[in-house]
Amino acid sequence: MSNNLIVEREKGLVELERRIAELREASAAQPLDMSAEIAGLEERYQAILRELFGSLSPWEKVHMARHPARPTSLDYISRFDRFDELHGDRHYRDDPSIVGGFAFLRSRAVMVIGQQRGRDTRENLRRNFGMPAPEGYRKTSRLARLASRLQLPVVTFVDTKGADPGISSEEHAQSEAIAVCLQTFATARVPIVAAIIGEGGSGGALALAIADHVLMLEHSTYSVASPEGCAAILWSDASKAEEAAARLKLTADDLRRFGVVDEIIVEPLGGAHRNAQDVVTRTLDAVDRSVARLSSLSPEELLDERYEKYRRLGEWQAQSLQPAGTAQ
């Protein structure tokens, strides 16, 4: 039994999918025309899909974002025209939860960096479930600095529960590694395009997401804390995660409204993994369009626009709430 809501829900579809496939096969093997039966089943299948996935709650989106079959960074990077991976932070080790290197996207040379979770248990262990250590963030900073020097646009894919919260990560100054990453992205003199493709977990996600253009998949999430963590701290009750998910405003629509996200990539009914090929193509198209547009700006214009963009975020307006304790 999976602890993923979406995976559980999909189990009901498997039987139907199998029957459709069987009928198709049978129909191809014999002269009998079964197209009406197949069409009927297809229709029912689509109706069930709509019922199951037609409108997802924030909590359901959290599970969709964590779906084990959801396309990961490497599924996107492998569709670049070329990719030459670069490794290591030059200090201590290579962190496999961040993948990065030179690439060609539609004949344009870029630097691509993505957070990589595992697609099975073994890979998850190797990649620390996509939770980067300081070494991963230092590799990221190194590659972003290199890109800035070589005038290569930076493309990032964000997919992490958050930065690794372990002993070694604290010993190697996780805070500093993320802080420097933010600084590097804030000052890079090249276009930066970030795509939130799965989970965007807090500061560990933001470290790769200060960008001139931020894309977000329809059912991805991006939040200040995980719903579970938020529930544990603010409600002292981890079972309130669903309520926390609703309150945190972590969906693409909410974040587009706040200006945290610039563009939403629509997903097929049932989620990106139901047609990964198409989702990856459309995401890369959108990335390419943004990079092309941003490449016409001078480094000074880029930096000014980036500064203004983040300067305005969470902009303050005159408030009604009176501070009780201040002397008037």
């Binding site: 372990g166 604290e170 993320i178 500061g203 200040v224 926390a244 945190l248 975020l313 501070p323």
Partner: protein, 281 residues
């Protein structure tokens, strides 16, 4: 809008919970007369335990006597209409009453040992020092103004991280403050941070660890992830020393650990390297 800082009106700056005449040291159990404790800058006179300090006490302990607050008119609001066990508005109000503050940071300009500086002081007594939109806005304005004035900036950090009740808008303050700090530093200005107990999460992982020089107070707890989160992840108890200022010094993450009673003197010494012309008295 600037507002002159009036020490006399800020006499009740310490949180209500500490307002008793006698205070017990949580570390050694010594019962301390409150006035003696204040005189020793809220450091236990027996075991040197550093109590958490309120922002205005801190400012009084560091500046030469002048402090002009900025951005105090920027006040928090409730963008997500948040509510958990209590509503966010209720929490803001009660924190304001208990701390005498309107947000988790107080920003302004002052002189320290006759050096003009921009000063931002966070206070754990307001929402655990968490960074909301207004915390980020005040700090950003401080760095922007310090850049215009070409004066060093000193931040006293104390924070549980980004404020959950403001969602992603709080997290984005990491980006906003980072951008302002970067511009300030690129112009050749000096940024010094003092990490106080505790400094964690989104504040540690943004402006706090971007400083040129990082000072920490004795025994301050400093880290990215909270102790409980790490213990739950690794399923074992962490050693007491883990994530203390002394631990970070040994690991190479910070420049020095300083006893609060020697802090002002140390800051003035450090400013001498960055500023060559103190203002005349």
């Amino acid at each position: 809008m600037m507002r002159e800082w009036l020490p006399s009106r800020r006499a009740r700056e310490t949180p209500r919970n500490d307002a008793a005449l006698w205070v017990k040291c949580p570390k050694c159990g010594e019962v301390l007369y409150r006035r003696d404790l204040a005189a020793s800058l809220f450091v236990c006179t027996r075991c040197s335990y550093h109590f958490r300090m309120s922002a205005y006490d801190r400012i009084a302990s560091i500046v030469d006597g002048d402090f002009t607050e900025i951005a105090s008119e920027v006040l928090p609001s409730d963008p997500l209409q948040w509510s958990d066990k209590k509503s966010y508005q209720t929490k803001l109000k009660s924190d304001a009453e208990n701390s005498g503050l309107s947000e988790s940071v107080v920003c302004g300009f002052a002189t320290i040992g006759r050096f003009p500086v921009a000063l931002g002081v966070m206070d754990f007594h307001f929402r655990g020092g968490t960074m909301g939109r207004v915390t980020g806005e005040r700090i950003t304005r401080l760095f922007e103004e310090a850049r215009r004035r070409k004066v060093p900036c000193i931040i006293f950090a104390a924070s549980g991280g980004a404020r959950m009740e403001e969602g992603m808008l709080a997290l984005m303050q990491m980006a906003k403050t980072t951008a302002a700090v970067a511009r300030f530093m690129e112009d050749g200005n000096f940024f010094l941070v003092v990490l106080t107990d505790p400094t964690t999460g989104g504040v540690a992982a943004s402006f706090a660890f971007q400083a040129d020089v990082i000072v920490a107070e004795s025994k301050a707890m400093i880290g990215f992830a909270g102790r409980r989160v790490i213990e739950q992840t690794i399923r074992q108890r962490l050693p007491d020393q883990f994530q203390t200022a002394e631990f970070l010094l040994e690991k190479g993450a910070i420049d020095m650990v300083v006893d609060r009673r020697e802090l002002k003197e140390k800051l003035v010494r450090l400013l001498e390297y960055a500023v060559r012309e103190p203002v005349s008295p």
